[in-house]
Every structure is written in structure tokens, then in C-alpha cells.
């Protein structure tokens, strides 16, 4: 199914990269500026060289492989994804987009020769924020948004990003050099991380929007009472208030229909005694929608529900939004190019929102950006089960190569 000898290496590379940063629990945890990261960069650099690309590392540690253009070499079409993983992550999230870019640049070279514009593939640094509490390190350096203050953000062991950079031979005072003004497009190849393509029977997804994301923390205050001596009707039980809020929010957001989502993944009760009525419960709500107006309506709905439940149950509640990413539309031109390539190859592609954040979100503010999804088996992602069989990667590779060539020959 994979045509060129180099492309046939792809499944092997996925397995090899998937061993670097492997933890005892069978998952991956590969984070920026660690020995596993260096080992992965060395492996990827080697594969870039095998593909005939010029290899270069920038000031923040992003790794590039370049196929110089013939007539307009200073205009660059970029592909690739991130090299890091979440804790207990899988082999496909991020890694697949880098390896696909390498083999498809080689395929463009072999089948069509060098195009007018330059093509580059990138292994981006630190998209996940799973070591330092800062996501999109590499892509923010490329847009020039990574600030010196952010380099002081520390990991769980107290090591700053700047300190970690120095540890792998990078000079944090030079990050502005990572900024690029020659990029004319970015196309990220990625697993869907959901089960929409599988459930609806599409081999490919073309992203129209990266969803808007807000994360809020809700604090519910009641009264700590003795679990044995306080009648049910005399209580101000923060746990019951929180449980009702969580349930009602999920019901309301479900009623809005796809692609609205809301999730409570964390909930803590204080004092937390088996025989004490909860005085205070804190829980999170992650909610997402690609339409800014709907996202705003969801925020009001969630706030209103918490207030209504708290008042009726004689509790107090406060809601604090601690993360806010507006929806990011993908470039209509890149979407059209992807769609045209898919049609030429006789492949059906679903126009869809991405429910997850991506580096493409950061770069979309500056240059035309697109994303191409291949299915995730059972929708599993951010876990060792993450899997896309070779047969479901191949159609995406073909569309990727054709679209890169299309964008680079304009």
C-alpha cells in the first residue's frame, strides 16, 4: 500500500519512535528537553536525512527537514506536528504527523521533483504542556509569541523552561531567532482523537475550525455537619449541590447537540471524611464549541445552572474561568486544496471541527493553516491504546503529498 521504499519504512518508524520515552505502564511520556526528547530528535533527524532533507534545529529546539524550492525558495510550506506526548500517551498523537511529513516530502521529491516553493517538515517542541504547565512552546516561538517570562515557568521539580533549554545546549536568550516570516502555509496531519470518522465511515477529516475551549472551576460552599446526627432536610450539603450541577450541565450541553461538549473530570470534597457532610466541593468544567456565539451561550448556561442549584439548596457557588481559547477557523484556501486533492483521489472527506487544541491553532493567527485527520481506532487517544492501522493512514498520506505539492507549486 505504501509505494516508495522510504514510505514503507513508516510503520517501522512509528514503532521505533513509540519506544522512546516508554514508561513501565506501557505508555509514553516524552517531554521537552529530556533525554527521551533528545533521543527522539536524533532518530527523527536521521530519518529526515534518509529522506534527503536538509536538517536544522532552531533556537527553541524545533527540528526542521527542508526540501528547498526551485524558483521561490524563500516561501515555505510547512507540515509536521509535535514530538512530545501526554503522560501515559500513545504512539500516534503528534509523532504520526512528523513521520508522515518526512515520507511525503520524499515522495513529492521522487514523483514530482522539487516544487517552486520550499517544503519543510517540523518536529515541534512541547505542544502538550505535560512537563511544563505551558502548551504550544514550539509553535509560539515560531510566531514570536513565546515571552521571556514564559521561559521562567517551572516543571514539577522546579526546573524552568529556560534552565531545561540550557541543559540541552539551547540559549534561551536567543528564542526570538526561532521566529519565522517566510512561512506561507502550515498543514498538520494528525489522528482524529475521536470516533466521528469511524462512526460515520469517512476515511478522512478536513478541519474547518479548531473548537473554542474554556475551562472553569466551580466552588460550592455548604456546611460541614455530622453524617449521623443531622437530618437530611437540615443539611446544606455541598456534595449534593455539586452532583446536581454536574448532572444538569451535562444534560443541557447534550441537549444542545453535537459538537457541544462539557466534561467534569475532577471533583474534590472537603473535609472529605466518610462521616462528615461535605462543607466544600470544587469541580472543573471543560466546555467546547467551534461557534463563538454558542460557546458564549454555553458559558451563560453553565453559570446559570450553578447559581440556580446553589440558591435552591442554600449553598454558595462561584465559577472561575481559568482557560479560554476562542474557536480558530482554518484557512478556506487550504481546506479547498485538501478537498480538491481528496476528490482527485476519489476519497470522501468529512468537513469537521477539531475538538482538541493543536499547534495549528497558534500558527493560524499568522499564516494559512489546515488540518487533515485520519481515523482513531475506537476514538482512543492520550492512552497506550491509541491506534490507526496502516490501511487507514495511507489515504491521508496520499492527500497530504498531493496537497503539499499543490500549495508549493502555486
Amino acid at each position: 500500500m505504501l509505494k516508495t521504499p522510504l514510505a514503507r519504512r513508516l510503520p517501522v518508524w512509528i514503532e521505533e519512535l513509540g519506544q522512546i520515552g516508554r514508561t513501565e505502564a506501557d505508555g509514553l511520556w516524552r517531554t521537552p528537553y529530556t533525554p527521551a526528547d533528545t533521543q527522539a530528535q536524533d532518530a527523527v533527524a536521521g530519518w529526515m536525512q534518509q529522506a534527503g532533507l536538509e536538517v536544522r534545529r532552531d533556537a527553541v529546539g524545533n527540528l526542521f527537514g527542508r526540501l528547498p524550492g526551485t524558483t521561490r525558495p524563500d516561501e515555505v510550506i510547512l507540515t509536521g506536528s509535535h514530538l512530545d506526548t501526554v503522560r501515559n500517551g500513545g504512539k500516534y498523537d503528534g509523532g504520526l504527523g512528523i513521520l508522515a511529513g518526512i515520507v511525503m516530502l520524499a515522495e513529492v521529491l521522487e514523483t514530482s521533483g522539487r516544487p517552486a516553493r520550499s517544503l519543510e517538515v517540523v518536529a515541534l517542541v512541547g505542544e502538550e504542556g505535560s512537563r511544563f504547565p505551558l502548551a504550544f512552546i514550539g509553535s509560539k516561538a515560531i510566531t514570536g509569541e513565546l515571552s521571556p517570562e514564559e521561559l521562567e515557568i517551572r516543571d514539577a521539580e522546579g526546573i524552568s523552561i529556560a534552565g531545561a533549554m540550557r541543559g540541552v545546549g539551547l540559549d534561551p536568550s536567543r528564542i526570538q531567532e526561532a521566529r519565522r516570516s517566510d512561512l506561507r502555509g502550515f498543514l498538520e496531519f494528525h489522528i482524529e482523537q475521536g470516533r466521528i470518522l469511524q462512526d460515520q465511515g469517512y476515511p478522512l477529516g478536513i478541519v474547518h475550525t479548531i473548537t473554542g475551549i474554556r475551562q472553569a472551576c466551580v466552588l460550592v460552599d455548604g456546611r460541614p455537619d455530622h453524617a449521623g446526627t443531622t437530618p437530611m432536610t437540615s443539611r446544606r450539603d455541598a456534595m449534593l449541590g455539586a452532583a446536581e450541577m454536574v448532572l444538569r450541565i451535562a444534560e443541557q450541553i447534550t441537549a444542545l447537540g453535537h459538537p457541544a461538549v462539557a466534561t467534569t473530570g475532577r471533583l474534590q470534597a472537603r473535609p472529605g471524611g466518610v462521616n462528615v457532610v461535605a462543607e466544600q466541593v470544587e469541580f472543573t468544567v471543560d466546555f467546547r464549541h467551534p461557534d463563538p456565539a454558542v460557546l458564549e451561550r454555553m458559558a451563560a448556561m453553565i453559570r446559570g445552572t450553578c447559581e440556580e442549584v446553589a440558591q435552591r439548596r442554600r449553598l454558595a457557588s462561584t465559577l472561575h474561568v481559568f482557560l479560554e481559547h476562542p474557536p480558530v477557523p482554518m484557512s478556506p484556501e487550504v481546506q479547498a486544496a485538501l478537498q480538491a486533492s481528496a476528490e482527485e483521489l476519489g476519497l470522501k472527506a468529512l468537513s469537521m471541527a477539531s475538538g482538541a487544541g493543536h499547534d495549528a491553532m497558534v500558527l493560524a493567527g499568522r499564516i494559512p493553516v489546515g488540518m487533515l485527520f485520519v481515523p482513531s481506532r475506537e476514538g482512543r487517544s492520550h492512552c497506550p491504546d491509541e491506534f490507526t492501522p496502516e490501511g487507514e493512514i495511507v489515504p491521508g498520506l496520499a492527500v497530504l503529498a498531493r496537497t503539499l505539492h499543490r500549495l508549493a507549486t502555486v
Copy 2:
């Protein structure tokens, strides 16, 4: 209001005892075999001596003050309560019953002389289980139920009960000597720790039953999914299952009416990420009823609710009962004696269940036992707010003295 000079010391003693084991957060944490415990025992022993009582410490560390009987000194009527507190506890839970016993034994002596039977007041060791995960240490030693294996139970720092006993000069191999066969009755004076007396306007409560208590842990298993990429209708969200179970259990138990209670004080979600659908949620249910048949029905109801919700939401659930105390009826004779004393004094007393466990529960298996409650201001207990004003203690003291005299002159 307090008549004898000694009785007038009671409020001062409450304050003095309430300083021993005081923590920075204004609460008390006084646990067995610690320097605070020794200091409290010394203070209580001094007050027992001031009251004219013979002071003695038994093999497990219970402290007794004795007023010997005239004609039947080998038959003992015991009063008192526990000297230890929960973490961040208050001044009244336990301590009040000891101090009330001391002043009322002195009052009996002063107003009526020594009765036929002996009267003793006890400061019991370790009722709360707040240092070692074992409650009722002192009362179990008195009934002979404290086993050598239990003495190997360790605190958070790895110190066993036996080791801690040695540290304060007690010999754990001699605990059988704490066993008593001369007790003919036990009357525990205690704060209600709830707000039933206050709400219903009764100065006193006479306990008919110490409620049955079960504590269960419910484990709900779902599937960890990406919070952004998994549609609401495709999820198997353990958090939503747990929230519905917690709410439904509370609704059903509330519908059963007073005194049925059920409480979820602790809930934990795994993996606990803001942007991950909960794979597993674990929560506790503490449920209580004084009628064994109703308690059994509540257990079936809770189990059935968890199973029904889990099945409907495509989750798995298991329920494990880890603590089970059957309801303990109080002695009809002691209840009648308390009721007669209250009536003679023109005081209304409410016949009620105790929603909390007490040493009286342990002793009730062997001898006639009763409990007398005075109101807790706002029902506050197990917290520094715990308070009963002197004016609401006095009626209870009068009934206590009269009933002790009554039981000791039979």
C-alpha cells in the same frame, strides 16, 4: 444556676480541658497516649480528687474516680465519657460527660450522702479512632473485647497501640486486667451533636437506640475519553454515573423520612484530568437507621440504585460495605429512670435515637446502659464551633445526678 461551689467550677474546667491539645487552627486534637492526653488525664485526676473521689487508672489507661457504696460497694454504677477528640474537634464532645460526672458525683455525696452502690466516673481512652484506626479502645478493654491483635494497629507514623501504651508507662500484656465484672449500669452524658433538640424545643434527649451504621465504598467504572473529541452521546462517563447515584441515593433516603440518613462525604475521580472524561470514580456512602429492618432496606435500595444507574449508563459498579454497626437499643430500665428523674424535675425530655456511635454502644452488650443528651447549639459538633451554654447544661446535670442516685440506691 450551678448550686454547689464545685459545680460552679464546671464552666472553668470545660475551658481548661478545652485548652489541652489545642491546635493552631483553634480546634482540639487530643488523642490516646500523647503528651496532651497525659496532661488532660492529670488535670481530670486533680478535679476528681477535689470532688472527693478515689482516683485510679486501669490497665488500658481509662481514668476512674470512685465514690464507694455503703452496703453494696461491689456493685458499680458508672458514668463518664471519652477524653479524646476528633481532629479539629471541640470542647464538649466527650469532655463534658466526664466533667459533668465528676461534679454530679460530688453533688450526690453532698446532698444525699453515699448511696448503697458505688458510683464511678470514667474518662475513657480513645473513642474516636482519630489517632489509631480503631474506635472504642477504652470501652472495649472494659468489656474484655480488646484483642492483642488490635494492639498492633498503628497510627499514621507507624506507632502501634501497644508501643504507644508502653510510652506512657502502661503494660499492653496486662489489658485483660481492665475488664470489669462489677458494673451494674452505665449512664453517658453527652451533647446531642445534632440540632433536633434545638429545633423541637426540648432541653433534654433520652436515647432509646444508638443508630445502626453502615459505610460502603462504591466504585464506578467507565471509559477515559478525550474531553474535546468525544461526543456527549458516545461517552461512558463515570463522573456522571457517580453524580446520579449520589443524588438519587440522597433523594430516596430523604423520602424515607427521619431518622434515615445517607451521606457521601468523599468522592474521587481518576485519572482526574480537567480534559479527560473520568474513567473511574470512587465514593463513600455512610447510611444509618436505628431500625435494623429499615437499615437492611436502605442497603438494598442503595445497591439497587447504583446497579440501575450503572447499567443504564453503560458503566460497571461495585459496592463494598466496609463498616457495619447494628443498631443498639438502650436499657428500658435506665431510660425509665432518666424519664422519671426528668418528670420529677418538671423537665420535658425527647425520646430519640442517637445518630452517632458512642462507648455506650460497646458497653450495652454487657450491662444496662443509657444516654442523656443536652442540646448542641446549631447542631455543631466535631468542630471548634461546638457549644452548649451553661444554661442548657444545667437541666441535664440535675437529671444526671438524680438518675445516678436512683440507680445507685436500688
